[in-house]
Amino acid sequence: MEPYKKHESIAALMNRSNVDTDQIIPKQFLKKVERSGFGAHLFHDWRFNDDGSDNPEFELNKPTFKGAKILVVGDNFGCGSSREHAPWAIADYGFNTIISTSYADIFYNNCFKNGILPIKVSSQQLESLMAEINANEGVRFVVDLENQQVITPGGNGFTFDIDPFRKGNLLSGLDDIGLTLKHVDKISAYEERHKKAFPWLWAQ
């Protein structure tokens, strides 16, 4: 996983609430055997017309939002089925930050496993951020995880809360596996004991 760095980026706005994981990545894409490449199908049913062309009405298709790393969305983002493909698709599309008032539990946890920072804000904060983007599409926000701060040119900046353990993992780019591998000495020591106790399990 890439370490999460302080960055300035376009903030894309999707003023929709209760966006569920089936909308994030519709189920017809779950049969793939790959893990990468889901970004091409992110929000598929909204993003594309039936003939496969881009739907110009869809927010993220606006040229002003191209290249955005920050996604500002309505309440309860990521509800519905627990599919891990949702954060895979979001990260693969290029987002590394989401700003909303609330997230579904499993989705929220899955974000951290995929290098995505989900920031929680109050309803008023969200409204003012949305207003700022609406007034100036393509506006760039600065996200500074180290100092738990978002800075906007319109002065709607704020500080946010985050679990210190998770923050550390994002900053260092440690995924769950990396975290476990920090204890690799203990795992190896366990295996040495295991080999003595159950030698037949180690016969190849």
Binding site: V33, D175, T180, I187
Partner: protein
């Protein structure tokens, strides 16, 4: 201290408990199939990580494989790709794979015990919820997600939360014609599909002791439908006899060493469980599910319940929608429900014993007019054993189809499926809407009940059959 079997296994597999992290548990065995593993392998490649202990893994192809015309290429391109990718991944990482042509091929939870790959006291995982099956051997076995599959491959460990423990005791002896499947369904009927949430269930009592290893696998298999993380049964003489001589079982001097460990595993006298549920075996009649959740189940001599018969609003609503989906009216006698399809197979009831019982019932009968009945062995070993005993002929003469092994109609991913509105007597484990095909209606039963229904064209009380 007096410990439960779960606590003993947990304690002996605890690798580290670090601040801010869930405890890390060591994994002895990792089982794999083609559907939930490909992204895990890709994840390893993306991060340049390796499989830590290839010998801890046993893989098969079962979920999307055809159960007939195996010599032809797989028609469904997605299934074909999954099978190809599985073969490549196993080859690249040096893993033991029972591919489609391998005589050991079959459903993962059927083939693993056949080779003695899981032993008492192990921690066993698989990207599949019915991993609970292996609890029959006194192993802590549970299903995991794809990112966890990757985690276990890379680290041989898994961050886990400790579960609560539930003792489910089945007292007395089971009546004739009632089976492990009926125990499993009766328990779920009693505690509900959320009854075991947060728990690991240990099954005990005389009726459990009496079960064969196959029966114990059937029972533990459905611990997951009771909401539990896993099911466990204390190892005993039957367990040891089953394992002895199998390919991956300890041999020679190691056998004695292993036995000493295994015998230390059963829960101590006086060990405390967080919950205890007791059932009298004598009360367990052959079960038939009538709804779209495994808890919507009743004895074969019962009637389809009415929504009003439930005392809580949620269950009333669930009953209403289940009846609408299932096309059933309240108070219909279960034995008056006609069927269109019969499926015997799956990791719940696809073992040799299941086909023996079903064949005994099917012998000399004919599948009723208009009904399709398929028998899908859980593995090639089961298939060959059954053929040696002449069971295939009994089924074929009775008008059944005798197939190659696979998950088949348990989840209808391989093309074997119900059409809309068709009603199936099935020995599998889930009766969710659409599980056996869009609009298909599933009734969960034991193999004997399924075979009797095939001959009669409707459910019959096996106790009065023939």
């Amino acid at each position: 201290m007096n410990l439960t079997m779960y606590e003993k296994i947990w304690d002996s597999h605890l690798v580290v408990e670090a601040e801010g992290q869930a405890p890390l548990i060591y994994v002895d065995r990792h089982l794999m199939h083609e559907v939930t593993s490909p992204q895990a392998f890709e994840g390893l490649r993306m991060t340049n990580r390796k499989v830590r202990n290839p010998h801890s893994i046993l893989a098969t192809m079962d979920h999307c494989v055809p159960t007939k015309d195996r010599h032809l290429p797989i028609a469904d391109p997605i299934a074909r790709k999954q099978v190809e990718v599985m073969a490549e991944n196993c080859k690249d990482n040096g893993l033991n794979l029972y591919d489609l042509k391998n005589p050991n091929n079959g459903v993962i939870h059927v083939v693993v015990p056949e080779h003695g790959f899981v032993h008492p006291g192990m921690v066993v995982v698989c990207g599949d919820s019915h991993t609970a099956t292996h609890g029959a051997f006194g192993a802590l076995a549970f299903g995991i997600g794809t990112s966890e599959v990757e985690h276990v491959m890379a680290t041989q460990c898994l961050p886990q939360k400790k579960s609560k423990t539930m003792l489910v005791k089945i007292n007395g002896t089971l009546p004739k014609f009632s089976t492990a499947k009926d125990i499993a369904l009766a328990i779920i009927g009693k505690i509900g599909t959320a009854g075991g949430t947060g728990y690991v269930i240990e099954y005990a009592g005389e009726a459990i002791k009496d079960l064969t290893m196959e029966g114990r696998m059937t029972l533990c298999n459905m611990a997951i439908e009771a909401g539990a993380r896993a099911g466990l049964i204390a190892p005993d003489e039957k367990t040891y006899a089953y394992l002895q001589g199998k390919e991956f079982a300890p041999q020679g001097a190691a056998w004695g060493q292993a036995m000493a460990y295994w015998q230390s595993l059963p829960s101590d006298e006086g060990a405390q469980f967080d919950a205890v549920v007791e059932l009298a075996a004598a009360d367990i009649a052959p079960q038939v599910s009538w709804g779209t959740s495994p808890e919507q189940v009743i004895g074969v001599n019962g009637v389809v319940p009415s929504p009003e018969s439930f005392d809580n609003e949620g269950k009333r609503k669930a009953c209403e929608s289940a009846l609408a989906y299932m096309g059933l009216t309240p108070n219909t006698k279960i034995t008056d429900i006609p069927i269109d399809f019969v499926f015997i197979g799956s990791c719940t009831n696809g073992r040799i014993e299941d086909f023996r019982v079903a064949a005994e019932v099917a012998k000399g009968t004919k599948v009723a007019a208009g009904i399709t009945a398929i028998a899908v062995p859980g593995s090639y070993q089961v298939k060959h054993q059954a053929e040696q005993e002449g069971l295939d002929k009994i089924f074929i003469e009775a008008g059944w189809q005798w197939r190659d092994p696979g998950c088949s109609m348990c989840l209808a991913m391989n093309g074997d499926e119900l059409s809309k509105g068709q009603r199936c007597a099935s020995t599998s484990n889930r009766n969710f809407e659409g599980r056996q095909g869009k609009g298909g209606r599933t009734h969960l039963v034991s193999p004997a009940m399924a075979a009797a229904a095939a001959a009669a064209g409707h459910f019959v009380d096996i106790r009065n059959f023939g």
